[in-house]
């Protein structure tokens, strides 16, 4: 159940998208996100959606994986869609008491839904095609300038690596402890909010204790392998920009220009 979540998972492959430099991918994703919000009308938004779909196809990852990552945020999509339905102006199509659905409302709902779906799609591309260590490595390098402000960039990146590594381990452990307490008659499914929170204690306390034990072990294992912070550390996989990163960036620039153009045209008409 918890293990079915595909959001944030890495799926190894050899597609063009996989081979793009991780830093380039992060920067391009950020730019894409900005432009998905910049896109102000249906024409420019569908342009962004089309580009995102194209990128999705280029990853050569089965579409079912994207659909599964969509499943997690399905509720959010439906919720925002419905909320938007009731706000808006224009011709009233249907009315019941204070609830009123207008043409503008439907327009808004569809627009926002497409926007969120596009956002999730393109964000999944990054995590699906980039190994966690490339990702943290890229973040570390991109944030490097922040060391000037005494921000421990390497340490932050290492924490992210470890967190990503241990999330599945802790999820499995949570499952085990829950079963063990249920076998002792713990009732976690009924009762009010207060009772339910209290019923979680028999799971949370062992989970904390075990996390500390694991942290202790891991620290020792890292020491055994001569870990000494970021100084003098090399990497097996060195990130370097290639011509394909430049091409991708140029293509994106063209798309962004088109989006801006569509927006301006949209405003005029």
């Amino acid at each position: 159940m918890v293990r079915d979540i595909t959001l944030g998972q890495y799926l190894p492959g050899k597609s063009v998208i996989h081979r793009l430099d991780a830093r380039a991918k992060i920067l391009m994703l950020l730019a894409m996100i900005v432009f998905i919000f910049v896109a102000g009308n249906f024409v420019s938004l569908s342009l962004m959606t089309l580009v995102s779909l194209l990128v999705v196809l280029l990853t050569r990852i089965p579409l079912t994986m994207y659909l599964k990552s969509m499943k997690v945020i399905l509720l959010v999509v439906i919720f925002t869609g419905i909320i938007n339905l009731f706000y808006g102006t224009g011709d009233v199509l249907w009315e019941w008491g204070i609830i009123r659905i207008t043409q503008g409302g439907i327009h808004n709902a569809v627009f926002v839904t497409i926007r969120i779906i596009t956002l999730v799609l393109i964000s999944s591309v990054l995590t699906f095609t980039t190994s966690p260590s490339d990702l943290t490595d890229a973040i570390e390098r991109l944030l490097k300038p922040l060391t000037v402000f005494h921000i421990k960039v390497h340490e932050i990146a290492m924490m992210m690596t470890i967190a990503l590594r241990f999330i599945p381990v802790l999820l499995e452990e949570t499952d085990k402890i829950m079963n063990a307490q249920k076998a002792r008659g713990a009732d976690m499914e009924s009762g009010g909010l207060f009772r339910r929170v209290k019923a979680l204690l028999p799971v949370l306390i062992p989970l904390f204790v075990s996390s500390f034990r694991r942290a202790n072990d891991l620290a020792m294992a890292m020491e055994c392998r001569c870990y000494n912070g970021g100084n003098g550390r090399t990497r097996m996989k060195v990130l370097h920009y290639a011509w394909r990163d430049l091409i991708a960036a140029l293509l994106l620039l063209a798309v962004f220009a088109a989006v801006i153009l569509c927006n301006i045209v949209g405003v005029w008409s």
């Binding site: 079915d4 890495y10 190894p12 079912t64 190994s131 966690p132 260590s133 690596t161 470890i162 990503l164 590594r165 599945p168 381990v169 499995e172 452990e173 085990k176 402890i177 079963n179 063990a180 307490q181 249920k182 076998a183 002792r184 008659g185 713990a186 009732d187 204690l201 028999p202 306390i205 062992p206 204790v209 075990s210 034990r213 694991r214 072990d217 891991l218 020792m220 294992a221 890292m222 020491e223 055994c224 392998r225 001569c226 870990y227 000494n228 003098g232 550390r233 090399t234 990497r235 097996m236 996989k237 060195v238």
Partner: protein, 588 residues
């Protein structure tokens, strides 16, 4: 051979606070030399100081007094720290907790990256290290999708990539199943033989220690015995005094020798034992003997049934692309008051099965009946089934959470809604059954020793007074004496309470000593269900399912194969001894 590690008059105690300075030493004057290229096993019970010693070899701990010299460098000199850790790598017990990165090859590279090795060279070293432990094909996998044995081999590769002289393994197989244990031991032996890596193996599995060139036995922070496996294991009585064990074949031959029979000085494996016994058994007694005892037809009328399953099937992720059948069409009945063993390799469906028995999982098809009543008939009352069918999971000590041991044991009875007086009675009774001294009840469960925590957790389930008690690998990770004591306590509990007990275990020796009948699971199906003797006489069939028979039974089966008319339904060393004596006295 020259010395790689020299330990000289080493005393050590954990000195984290002022009070600790008065504490006894964890290591009490250890003198030890590890030769380059050797394979040394360090054995000792839990708390004997063997793991503490392991952490001295690569300067994780420093001696309080005395010295540890690694390749001419004193571990007390901080300037040598990384040189020492580069030469001496340490592999820990828990396979999950020592893997840092989310992809196998990136984890293996971690050590090299820390040492500042150039990228191209790291690539080569990582590939070589993964090939050395036979994990190259898994280099792009995520560690959490691997089995315990595979994870442990990744951890070894991570050390290998640093090109060490020596690998110290601190109970690397304690949390693994037999197959994982074999994989790790094979990898370790190969590194020792083919790459000349010095191996220091900390273990309390005697079958692993016999593979070493030298065995060092420790107790109370001191070295008690040191020598070849033959020399060390010839001191059967002394080892037992120090809470250790010897292989069953060694014990058998030792017994025979004690009665004046001519047996080689120290027998360490099955083949040696069979050869030795052949000399004692008369050749003319050979003849055709019937093979494995046929499985008996299950006699249902004979005993009262307490728990039964019919057509039990469980499919995970039914109707999706990830559909996986964990259990398919299992039928059997558990007799009231019996002690049933459940065996099967990892992934055979036995864990799924036991979770179905107490309603933690709901079957996709089929029924589980308790006292002839389908437990899912009223899904709302499933909790009451869990009180009647108690379940002790693997490593149950990880579920302890209360302020005191007493409160923790009382958690189950409290959930049952019993009165304070009843709870009190149940807690004390359960603590006694689990062998937990009264004075520990008011302590915090987190202050107990590993073995005591295990007992407290088992008591927590016993306190619900279940009619059926299921124990999943209750003795995992305990040392030999701890394991024997715990098992005998469970047997006593069964004898006194006269309830039904189900024991899931990978240890065939424990199963043989304990249960009346065995259920064999294989690939999600019931393979056999019969008396312990009958099941173990099918040694060959069990082997094809990735299972073994107890070592002593194996010896008898080998003798039978060679044509000796010995009874193969032998389960313990004592029984084997009596059985052999019968044949040998006849000859004399």
């Amino acid at each position: 051979m020259s010395a790689l590690i020299e330990v000289k008059k080493l005393f050590f105690r954990y000195e984290e606070t002022e009070q600790d300075k008065a504490a006894p030493f964890a290591l009490n004057g250890v003198d030890l030399t590890i030769e380059k290229g050797s394979f040394v096993a360090i054995v000792g019970h839990n708390g004997s100081g063997k793991s503490t010693l392991a952490k001295q070899f690569n300067a994780l701990y420093y001696p309080t007094t005395g010295d540890v010299i690694v390749d001419g460098m004193n571990t007390k000199d901080d300037e040598h720290l990384f040189d020492i850790r580069k030469r001496v790598g340490l592999v820990l017990q828990n396979p999950d907790n020592q893997i840092v990165a989310g992809v196998v090859e990136e984890d293996v590279a971690f050590g090299c990256e820390n040492l500042g090795v150039p990228p191209e060279e790291i690539r080569q070293r990582v590939d070589a290290a993964l090939q050395a432990v036979d994990m190259y094909d898994y280099r792009l996998h995520s560690p959490d999708k691997l089995s315990g044995g595979q994870k442990q081999r990744v951890a070894i590769a991570g050390i290998m990539a640093m090109e060490p002289e020596c690998i110290v393994l601190d109970e690397p197989t304690a949390m693994l199943d037999p197959q994982g244990r074999e994989e790790v031991m094979a990898a370790v032996r190969q590194l020792n033989r083919e790459k000349g890596i010095t191996i220091i193996l900390i273990t309390h599995y005697m079958e692993e220690a016999v593979l070493a060139d030298r065995v060092v036995m420790m107790d109370s922070g001191k070295v008690f015995l040191s020598g070849t496996p033959q020399e060390v294991f010839s001191h059967t009585a002394l080892l037992k005094q120090h809470r250790l064990d010897v292989p069953q074949v060694t014990e058998l031959c030792d017994k025979l020798k004690g009665c004046g029979w001519e047996v080689p000085a120290c027998v360490l494996n099955e083949e040696e034992c069979v050869t030795a016994l052949e000399k004692l058994l008369s050749a003319d007694k050979k003849g055709n003997v019937p093979c494995a005892v046929p499985l008996t037809e299950e006699n249902k009328s004979e005993a009262e049934t307490i728990l039964s399953v019919e057509g039990l099937t469980l499919t995970y992720g039914a109707k999706t692309a990830f559909e996986k059948t964990a259990l398919s069409e299992v039928d059997f009945a558990v007799h009231k008051g019996e002690f049933l063993g459940i065996i099967g390799h990892t992934g055979s469906g036995k864990s799924t099965l036991v979770q179905l028995l107490n309603g933690l999982l709901k079957p996709t098809e089929g029924t589980v009946s308790l006292y002839g009543r389908d437990i899912w008939k009223e899904p709302k009352k499933i909790r009451s089934v869990r009180f009647k069918v108690g379940m002790v999971f693997q490593y149950p000590e990880y579920q302890l959470f209360e302020e005191t041991v007493y409160k923790d044991i009382a958690f189950g009875p409290k959930n049952m809604g019993l009165s304070d007086a009843e709870i009190d009675e149940k807690v004390h009774k359960a603590a006694a059954f689990a062998g937990l001294p009264e004075e520990l009840l008011e302590k915090s469960p987190f202050d107990l020793s590993g073995g005591e925590k295990r007992r407290a957790a088992i008591a927590g389930v016993m306190a619900m007074d279940p009619d059926v008690l299921i124990l999943d690998e209750p003795a995992a990770g305990l040392d030999p004496l701890g394991r024997d004591v715990l098992l005998s306590q469970i047997r006593d509990y069964h004898a006194v309470r006269k309830n039904t007990v189900l024991l899931v275990s990978h240890s065939m020796e424990d199963i043989a000593k304990t249960v009346d009948r065995i259920l064999v699971m294989n690939r999600g199906k019931k393979e056999m269900l019969d008396t312990t003797q009958t099941v173990f006489s099918h040694g060959k069939a069990l082997e094809t399912m990735g299972l073994r028979v107890p070592q002593i039974t194996k010896v008898m089966l080998l003798l039978q194969e060679k044509g000796y008319p010995v009874n193969t339904g032998v389960l313990t060393v004592e029984q084997a001894f009596q059985e052999l004596l019968k044949h040998m006295t006849a000859q004399a």
